[in-house]
Symmetry: C2
Subunit: 199 residues, 2 copies
């Protein structure tokens, strides 16, 4: 918890961060279905109203928690050629998605969302839409720099980059590994890269 010397704004941000961390820890221990506002509030040492003031559901709270881990660990670099920067982020993402704390909890939320369209909307709005937008920003930058072909709307390409490997994760026993990532990037660069070799 924040100590008394910090400002109210800072204390608020720290409390939010702590609640998200507690939520993720608890989700890892008890699973998505075992989460409750009571348990999260109890472990964080706050009243339930502190949680209800900020989040209207457990799902929103958990997805914000996943976003915080994701966003702090998994930003795109803009230092290299676009392919290298995409690859670097995809390798880190795929590792995060297949290991605790994100992996099992995230998979459980996705499963839960199949019977709950509102949760599916929340999953996309509070988490995946951000991932897609950052991907679109990164490849649009590359397009401006002349690394990708001009006059192509890259919005759907961003969705393909973010979404394709979920097929492996959710519907196969294949690993989301560097070979798969290279396969996806081969196709993306063959489609939109400038100066890519083609027959």
């Amino acid at each position: 918890m924040a100590d008394s010397s910090t400002t109210p704004r800072r204390r608020g941000a720290e409390r939010t961060r702590e609640l998200l961390t507690v939520t993720l820890d608890l989700a890892t221990e008890v699973g998505y279905r075992g989460l409750s506002v009571e348990a999260i509030a109890g472990r964080a040492g706050v009243g339930k109203h502190t949680i209800y003031r900020r989040w209207s559901s457990i799902a929103e709270l958990l997805l914000d928690a996943l976003s915080v881990v994701w966003v702090s660990d998994l930003d795109y670099r803009t230092s290299g050629p676009v392919r290298a920067d995409l690859r670097e982020q995809f390798v880190r993402s795929s590792q995060a998605l297949s290991t605790p704390p994100i992996g099992p909890v995230y998979r459980a939320v996705i499963a839960e969302a199949q019977a709950d369209p509102a949760l599916r909307a929340t999953l996309h709005e509070r988490f995946l839409a951000t991932v897609e937008q950052r991907t679109l920003d990164r490849i649009t930058r590359a397009q401006r720099e002349g690394q990708l072909v001009a006059d192509v709307n890259l919005e759907f390409a961003a969705e393909v980059l973010c979404g394709t490997l979920y097929y492996r994760l959710l519907l196969t026993s294949r690993p989301v590994d560097e070979k798969a990532i290279d396969g996806l990037l081969d196709m993306f660069m063959a489609a939109y890269g400038v100066g890519e070799a083609r027959s």
Copy 2:
């Protein structure tokens, strides 16, 4: 049931087909979790051993049932240019995947498979591997005919074609519609089509 004038082999095939139809009907009514070998056998008017002789689990039986619907309705054409044949099949698949009987049952199996790696393996082996192989066959044929660039391994491209739109289905509120299908085919043809316009 088969009448007495048919051969044993034909009666076997008809009984299998009827069991698969009953399974799909019942799954549509009671959901994946509500299915039991007892209920399927009862409705089909056969003993449970008839089912156990052929399938080792409800999941395998259901996935074979989905395959039968899929395979009979959703084969690739080989009559047109590859893009048109892929598009025609994807439009039909996406409609089948989002409407009964396949839609809700299939989504429930996918959800169930997230907590059950063996079911995930069965889902891929008994259903999606076939879809991928047919897609690979169709685009390999197009490659042989000179519609797609030579000297490219299309195996991963087949996976991308089959898998990408599951992201929309499972993780967003966006429709798997013709615009999305065209977006995916734009990218595929930009990457591998012969004579596609590129900057």
